[in-house]
């Protein structure tokens, strides 16, 4: 031994079993924090990459900008790049065609594709006004390739171009069953001139990294007198960067912060709890050190070094599996595809690792201080006499009048050491709080993704212009092969409407029987049967701007309909939507043809059946294939579900492990006392009962505190993220509470079983002599 500090590794070797539990706790905490934070970081990066892919890299888009102002903005220091953009026929309802197929025309600067969006480009951007780029679907539809000549027909004449490349667009072309055409600003100007159209370009801006976008936008608005409606922000991307400004993002980040604090706390409690369990023994050890001449400073130094000695092994042992699990999780998600294909596989999350290391080292250092502090207060004689530590904490005698002595002692053991009780109850409660919070997040995830609604169609046929879809078309579609279900919606928008509450216009939609059935799962309040049975009753879809409630009467087209139910979601969620049966719809609007026909295919539908359906609608109605989008949303939902359930599982496992470990460590700390009790005549059954009562006391207190703190948080998450946007009211999460309480109870039972078994195996004399 070179110095007294050489005792640290020796002592670690001697107390290997006791230290093993402490080490395990630190490893688990560090692992958990690293894995969760890393996954969250990866998820954030993925979400950002996906947002950039879908919505572009631009920060803000300005409409009706003067050329001079735009140039000045382009010169600003905080602006990285700018680009002009214009579009013709974005609604695909004008007569612009390419090789007889509807075309959407984009007039953009080269910088738009290079800096503002993130589309895949093949070939080159048009060099001059006689070249164009097409969306990749043009290849299949019109069989053109780079270098081919194509003709664009416009209402005022045809113009020939050469294809210089292919480039995606935001999905408008595919969705509208059209071809997107990119051309430079001169070519676009020529087409506008030919068709006597006025250009309405928008000006895209991307700010430099690190610029406070919110401030920059406000400044820009003031400086150039921009109107609110002329400034469009890239909300998704800015939101993720923390400049969202929208309530949704503020709530989301707030709740994410709360959940992260919970995870951090779980790690802290676990380590602090494990160190607290053997505090009496450690105090005695430090007391003994003080007796033989160690100064307080030396003890403090010893404690810190001992803690760091644990961290030396436990922190890397927690961080490395944390990173591995993150990689595994990311790889699995990437394998699933959809938006997760942006997931970085071997990404290293500095935030994740730093949080893990931080939780490990800081908590251990803080938690290890406590025995040292206590040791300095213990008198040297008491420290070595064997009665130090365990005698000091007791302030009141156990009450043995009303219950059996082992029950009274069990309760007393649980409640007498206040710090231990607080730590145990907090960790029990924390597990419950986390479980409830994450189950609320799952509800939120569900409300985010509409395509998991059962009536989400694979194919949508929409009426074009003023010609609606007749019932015969619906029947004809129904007769086709491969069709599982077909249902039509009659729809009439912007009908002037009046009610006792402030509404100006409403959209009326018809649901068929199948959709009505589906709607039953979405009822917030009211009763659908009235809508079904009687004409004049409608449902409405909840949104922030819709004041209608059950019982309200709406007058439109000289008729009065009563709101019989409020739904959380519907086909249309914007403005005031009234949904009725087809009869009610016709009675209200006089219209009896469909605006939209929705088709669901059988799983094994053949490509020719889909083509047949396309052919059936072709020319008359617009067709959109939703299968890809639905599949992606489904995958996203299931992945989210898997993640949240995975997390719930981890939380549950921590609860189980923590409870078992804490009780086991508590038993270890009292083993000498238990040995003496056994010697005096306590049976194993009585001893087990005593430990069980202690565990049940922790579980019961933890359960009550956990529910008391977890339910308001659950309410808050549901209220802020779900109720506000979909109207679904908060309900007591009975199932989640039952599950977590069951887990807690099972853990408590297991927690008793393990140390009881260990005690049973030990000779009484060994327990008395155990140090």
């Amino acid at each position: 031994m070179k110095s007294y500090l050489s005792l640290i590794p020796i002592s670690a070797e001697v107390h290997r079993r006791r230290n093993r539990m402490t080490l395990f706790c630190i490893i688990i905490s560090v692992f958990l924090v690293t894995a969760v934070f890393s996954m969250a970081d990866m998820g954030y990066r993925m979400e950002k990459a996906d947002m950039v892919k879908k919505h572009g890299k631009w920060s803000v888009c300005l409409y009706h900008m003067q050329q001079e102002d735009a140039e000045l903005i382009g010169l600003q220091e905080d602006v990285e790049s700018t680009a002009w953009y214009d579009v013709i026929n974005s609604e695909t309802d004008e007569s612009y065609y390419i090789n007889d197929k509807v075309a959407i025309l984009y007039g953009v600067e080269k910088g738009y594709l290079a800096n503002m969006v993130n589309y895949q480009v093949e070939g080159k951007f048009p060099k001059n006004a006689s070249e164009i780029m097409l969306t990749p679907n043009a290849r299949e539809i019109t069989e053109v390739d780079i270098g081919d000549k194509v003709t664009i027909s416009t209402p005022s004449g045809d113009i020939g171009y050469t294809v210089s490349g292919f480039c995606d667009d935001d999905g408008s072309a595919v969705l509208g069953d059209a071809i997107g055409i990119y051309m430079d600003r001169t070519a676009f100007y020529n087409i506008c001139t030919l068709n006597s159209r006025k250009e309405t370009p928008s000006y895209y801006i991307r700010f430099q990294k690190g610029v406070n976008v919110r401030e920059a936008i406000t400044e820009m608005k003031d400086q150039y007198g921009l109107k609110e409606k002329n400034v469009v922000e890239n909300k998704g991307v800015l939101g993720l960067e923390g400049y969202g400004g929208s309530n949704m993002f503020v709530s989301l980040y707030g709740i994410a912060a709360v959940l992260f604090v919970l995870i951090l706390l779980a790690g802290v409690f676990m380590i602090a709890g494990s160190l607290n369990s053997d505090i009496a023994e450690r105090s005695r050890f430090f007391g003994m050190m003080r007796c033989i001449g160690a100064s307080r400073k030396q003890i403090r130094y010893f404690v810190r070094l001992e803690a760091l000695n644990w961290c030396k092994i436990a922190v890397p042992a927690g961080v490395i599996p944390g990173i591995m699990v993150t990689w595994g999780g990311c790889a699995a998600m990437r394998f699933v595809g959809a938006e997760f294909s942006e997931m970085p596989v071997f990404g290293i999350s500095v935030i994740g690792i730093a949080s893990g290391v931080f939780v490990g080292i800081l908590t251990v250092l803080l938690a290890a201080q406590s025995p040292a502090k206590r040791a300095s207060k213990v008198s040297p004689a008491a420290a070595v006499s064997g009665n130090a530590g365990n005698m000091r904490n007791v302030r009141h005698a156990a009450d043995v009048r009303f219950s059996k002595v082992e029950t009274a002692l069990g309760i007393h053991h649980a409640v007498s050491a206040r710090k231990n009780l607080v730590l145990m109850v907090c960790s029990f409660a924390l597990s419950i709080i986390m479980f409830l919070s994450f189950s609320a997040v799952l509800d939120f995830a569900k409300s985010l993704l509409p395509s998991i609604r059962p009536y989400e169609p694979d194919f949508v046929v929409v009426a074009q212009g003023k010609s609606l879809i007749g019932k015969d078309f619906l029947e004809e579609v129904g007769r086709q092969d491969g069709i599982k279900r077909v249902y039509g919606n009659m729809c009439s928008s912007c009908i002037p409407a009046e009610a006792d509450k402030k509404i100006e216009k409403a959209r009326v939609v018809s649901y068929d029987e199948y959709m009505l059935q589906c709607a039953e799962d979405e009822i917030i309040s009211g009763d659908i049967s009235k809508v079904r049975k009687r004409k004049g009753y409608v449902m409405t879809v909840f949104n922030k701007n819709n004041p209608l409630e059950v019982g309200d009467k709406v007058r439109l087209n000289g008729k009065e309909a009563e709101v019989a139910a409020v739904l959380s979601e519907g086909l249309f969620a914007d403005e005031v939507t009234l949904i009725g049966t087809e009869d009610t719809f016709t009675w209200l609007t006089g219209q009896n043809q469909y605006t939209m026909v929705q088709v669901q295919f059988h799983k094994d539908v053949a490509a020719k059946d889909i083509r047949a359906l396309r052919d059936l609608a072709d020319g008359k109605y617009a067709v959109t294939d939703q299968r890809q989008i639905n599949q992606e949303s489904n995958i996203t939902f299931w992945m989210l579900r898997l993640l949240v359930y995975g997390f719930l599982f981890i939380v549950a496992m921590i609860t189980v492990f923590y409870i078992i470990n804490s009780i086991s460590m508590n038993v270890s700390a009292r083993i000498k006392q238990y040995g003496a009790m056994r010697a005096i005549g306590m049976s194993m059954h009585q001893l087990t009962k005593m430990i069980a009562v202690e565990a049940v006391t922790y579980a019961a207190c933890g359960g009550v505190v956990g529910c008391m703190a977890g339910l308001p948080l659950h309410y808050l998450i549901i209220h802020k993220l779900v109720t506000r946007y979909s109207g679904i009211p908060w309900n007591i999460p009975v199932a989640a509470i039952a599950v977590i309480l069951l887990i807690v109870s099972v853990s408590a039972v297991l927690a008793v079983y393990v140390p009881a078994k260990r005690m049973k195996k030990m000779e009484i004399v060994d327990t008395i002599n155990e140090l």
Partner: protein, 231 residues
């Protein structure tokens, strides 16, 4: 009649070359009401012997009879009840239950038996042990001597026939030591109990009816007018 009979008890810790023979074929018997002191150097095996007599540890071979009953033949639950009712333990480190007050600590074995404590006997013990005024104190509020008196009270509460004391005065000063020993002697006389006490202190040992000497796992002196065969 012999209350305790130890028959060819051996205890070996470990195996092979690392084997330590703590007790080697020890045999002796103690009649009812006798106060026996066990002396010997540290590591001689006296504590092991005491643990065997109290069935706190299992022997490698041999048997122990208390009141004619083979305690090693009992299963754990029977043994627990037997120990609770027939043997009183007094430890060097007192081993009181810190959560229970003086009175509760003394009553503890009776409470474990789900019996109603004999209040008169409790009062008597408290007064003999001079703990009446401290009855509601917790062990942490007592001196070492007081704590050991509580431990004695606890050992006597079930009126056991055998009291096993492992250096009961080891943590006490000489004044407290002689008080505790006097008390033990007195109570054993009053309640006709057999006491086996380990001690390092020769003068305390002298106050016993008989002194057993243990050395290197073997009894070297049976003391008194014993007629047992030396092991």
């Amino acid at each position: 009649m012999d209350l305790l009979e130890v028959r060819s008890i051996s205890k070996t810790y470990g195996s092979g070359e690392a084997a330590v023979h703590a007790l080697k074929e020890v045999s002796f018997s103690v009649p009812k009401g006798e106060f026996v002191a066990v002396v010997g150097e540290s590591g001689s095996g006296k504590s092991t012997l005491l643990n065997m007599m109290g069935a706190l540890d299992t022997a490698t071979s041999g048997r122990v009879f208390i009141d004619g009953k083979d305690i090693f033949a009992m299963d754990d639950s029977k043994l627990t009840v037997f120990r609770r009712r027939n043997i009183g333990f007094i430890f060097q480190a007192f081993n009181l239950i810190p959560e229970l007050n003086v009175e509760q600590n003394i009553m503890f074995p009776v409470l474990l038996d789900y019996q109603k404590p004999d209040k008169r006997y409790l009062e008597e013990l408290l007064s003999v042990l001079n703990l009446k005024e401290r009855r509601h104190h917790l062990p942490g509020q007592l001196s070492g001597g007081q704590q050991q008196r509580v431990a004695i009270g606890r050992a006597l509460m079930t009126r056991p026939s055998l009291i096993l004391a492992d250096e009961p005065t080891g943590n006490l000063d000489s004044k407290n030591s002689s008080e505790v020993i006097a008390l033990l002697k007195e109570t054993s006389k009053i309640y006709e109990q057999t006491i086996i006490m380990i001690t390092h202190n020769q003068s305390i040992a002298q106050s016993a009816d008989r002194i057993l000497s243990v050395s290197d796992g073997v009894i070297t002196d049976l003391g008194g007018a014993a007629n047992e065969k030396l092991s």
